[in-house]
């Protein structure tokens, strides 16, 4: 392959899409910066603290998982464990089948995308409706989200108006207010008709078993208003040790993700409705999803499990801005995805091992990460791992390093190469190795001055 897959995707991306992704992510970066740096004198210290809080939690899951299970049970929730995507999907289906339920409304959850829940349930004859506006549009378009927080960052309102028209949601109208109103009207009936509500969780406290859900549309509250059964799908890395940890994490999540002090809605859920409450789900089920996470925990990239899915690393990433989220061929795009997706791919790791190559290692992702994940270091580790796995995807268009290593460990050979390297200026471009050809064609080469400095240095010593 001449170039890397993600680069080829970027080359084929329509100008309009690239502009939408670029503008959307840059706006996200700017609002984050404003929110963090006007409210805090040392936001960087806060990021480091948040990183330590999450690192502590993931390194002590053996303590906190049993603790949170007991708390949840005490609070009246039922706890299920799913080792992989299949088990998680089946656990959801079983809860529904046991209750004769056929209609689900769901809030936005990345882990449901990861296990392809909607697809699975639809095949089983269960209606599974996305209620987050962006996810709803993705669903009616048979598309995929391209950003963790802004699933339709790649779409403009004209495309959305067209798909609303196609799906019987009124005549073409690309006014955002009208689009939102129509979606709202459609969804209201669905909330009332649904049997089961499915949500994720942004955090889950081991201390109290309290789960936290943040949204800006209030759709998760609607999901839980009329349904009798609440299913929460939660990745095992979502656990934090104490309730007070949430103060740090919530303050950073809103600011890092959307530039808000807090998201419009922050729900704390401590179980099904109590006897004193007039309404709310009568049953609450928590399904803990592993799906490769314990393998990540055992690896030397475990820091990625700190991620709180704010999307700040996508927004700042120059490669993401040019390539868009779909270039990453996975549920989690951008810098976090370039680490997480290959790790969660299991046996398919070699097919996804090109993702860690899609970075200049500029470090902007680490600089904005609210939990200070050393993303560039993890990308580098995965590059080494990809090489060891013999991944063809990873090595595409990458010059081989064997010859370089030989030259760079033998000073005499190195000096000879320096004096002869000028040949590169004389060789016709088509005869150059691919990497050199690409460089020469796009950037031009400065004149070869191999060995000149050494000569200068020697003369200087003499004089």
């Amino acid at each position: 392959m001449k170039y890397q897959q993600i680069d080829q995707f970027a080359a084929g991306l329509a100008r309009e899409k690239r502009a939408a992704v670029y503008d959307g992510s840059k706006a996200g970066y700017d609002s984050r910066y404003k929110a963090l740096f006007t409210h805090y004198t040392a936001p960087d210290e806060l990021r480091h603290l948040a990183g330590e809080i999450k690192q502590h939690a993931i390194e002590n899951l053996d303590t906190y998982l049993p603790q949170v299970e007991a708390k949840l049970q005490e609070n009246g929730a039922k706890v299920h464990w799913a080792a992989d995507a299949r088990e998680a999907c089946e656990a959801v289906l079983k809860i529904m089948r046991d209750r004769g339920a056929t209609k689900m409304v769901k809030a936005k959850t990345m882990v449901s995308e990861e296990i392809e829940l909607a697809h699975f349930l639809e095949k089983e004859g269960v209606e599974c409706l996305e209620t987050d506006l962006g996810e709803f549009i993705v669903q009616i378009d048979h598309d995929h989200p391209s950003h963790i927080v802004k699933p339709i960052i790649h779409k403009n309102r004209r495309e959305i108006a067209t798909s609303f028209e196609k799906n019987g949601l009124g005549e073409y109208n690309d006014d955002p207010g009208t689009i939102t109103r129509r979606a709202r009207q459609y969804l209201r009936h669905k909330y009332l008709a649904a049997d089961v509500a499915l949500t994720g969780a942004n955090f889950l406290s081991a201390e109290s078993g309290r789960m936290v859900l943040v949204t800006n549309e209030g759709n998760s509250r609607f999901c839980l208003a009329a349904t009798k059964v609440h299913i929460a799908l939660i990745g095992i890395e979502k656990i934090v040790a104490r309730d007070r940890d949430l103060a740090v994490l919530l303050n950073l999540l809103g600011r890092s993700g959307t530039g808000q002090q807090l998201t419009s809605y922050t729900e704390f859920i401590t179980g099904p409705k109590s006897a004193a409450q007039p309404d709310g789900p009568e049953e609450m089920h928590v399904i803990f999803v592993d799906n490769g996470r314990t393998d990540v925990l055992e690896s030397d990239c475990r820091e990625i499990l700190r991620c709180i899915r704010c999307g700040a690393c996508l927004n700042v990433c120059p490669v993401y801005r040019q390539a868009s989220g779909h270039a990453y061929r996975a549920v989690y795009p951008g810098p976090v995805g370039a680490v997480l997706s290959p790790l969660l791919a299991g046996k398919k790791f070699p097919e996804m091992a090109d993702l860690p190559k899609a970075s200049t290692l500029c470090g902007a992702c680490n600089e904005v990460c609210p939990v200070n994940i050393p993303i560039p270091d993890l990308l580098l580790r995965l590059r080494d791992k990809g090489k060891q796995a013999g991944s063809a995807a990873a090595s595409a268009a990458t010059p081989p390093m064997g010859g370089y290593a030989i030259l760079a460990t033998q000073p005499a050979a190195w000096k000879a190469a320096l004096s002869m390297g000028g040949i590169i200026n004389a060789v016709p471009t088509p005869l150059l190795p691919q990497a050199a050809k690409t460089w020469v064609e796009t950037r031009g080469l400065p004149p070869w001055r191999g060995g000149q400095f050494r000569k200068w240095m020697k003369q200087r010593k003499k004089s």
Partner: protein, 257 residues
């Protein structure tokens, strides 16, 4: 990347790591580094056996090949003196990258010993030698590109301290300064579309301020930006910070005469 712990220089003997890029293309940047260090009273040793820091293979994912090169570099730069590098990227390879790829290797201590005395040039001048005001004169408006390997290190602020103190020199800030130029080593040839798009965007921002020169602590970024600018029909002068510092001194002595 966190700032690494380093030994304060003890005396003024230093070893120079010229970098493979200066060895092959940009001899004047290396020569300027020597003149600047000599002006500061340093006694410079240039280990002849030096080749490359090992970063191309490290970033390319071939850590086995990279470790061979790092071992050679560790052997070549034996001793206790500070190692000064006119590149934020090669310096970071020694004090950060090499440590990462040697984590499980028995010779990690030797690599760490070199890491603890490796300095990028501007960082060495300001934080190693304590020089915060640069003499001389340099009449120019420059755009300073903080190379990404200087992110989170003392190098970026150090370079700005020095540049900002030169009489006649104006540093013009440009938009999206935190963004990468798109070079990224082998990234530049494996992802040419994205790399060029990033580079051209950087040039748009930089050129909007109409600088006389783009200055950086890394020749690799400058080679990429300069090459793209030339191909795009909007040539721009690129200079290493060492060249600015040296020429500032030259201008001073010219005036004195």
């Amino acid at each position: 990347m966190s700032p690494h712990e380093r030994h304060r220089p003890n005396g003024k003997r230093v070893q120079l790591m010229a970098t493979c890029l200066c060895d092959a293309f940009f001899d004047d940047a290396a020569a300027a580094t020597v003149e600047v260090l000599e002006y500061l009273g340093c006694e410079i040793a240039f280990p002849e056996a030096q080749t490359c820091c090992g970063q191309p293979a490290f970033n390319g994912g071939d850590w086995k090949a990279s470790r061979k090169v790092v071992r050679h570099t560790v052997k070549t730069f034996a001793g206790e003196e500070p190692v000064v590098v006119p590149s934020g990227s090669c310096a970071a390879m020694m004090f950060h990258g090499a440590l990462l790829e040697f984590e499980k290797e028995p010779d990690l201590p030797q690599v760490a010993q070199l890491a603890s005395r490796t300095w990028e040039l501007a960082d060495f001048i300001v934080n190693g030698l304590g020089v915060t005001k640069w003499p001389g004169r340099y009449e120019a408006t420059v755009a300073f590109h903080r190379s990404c390997h200087s992110r989170g290190t003392a190098s970026g602020p150090a370079a700005l301290t020095l540049l900002g103190s030169i009489e006649g020199l104006k540093v013009a800030p440009f938009g999206e300064g935190e963004q990468c130029c798109g070079f990224g080593g082998t990234f530049s040839v494996a992802f040419p579309t994205i790399s060029q798009a990033m580079g051209n965007l950087k040039l748009d921002h930089v050129l909007a301020t109409q600088p006389d020169e783009i200055v950086s602590a890394d020749m690799s970024c400058l080679m990429h930006m300069g090459g793209l600018a030339a191909k795009g029909g909007r040539p721009v002068k690129t200079r290493h910070i060492a060249q600015i510092l040296r020429d500032s001194l030259k201008n001073a002595s010219a005036t004195a005469r």
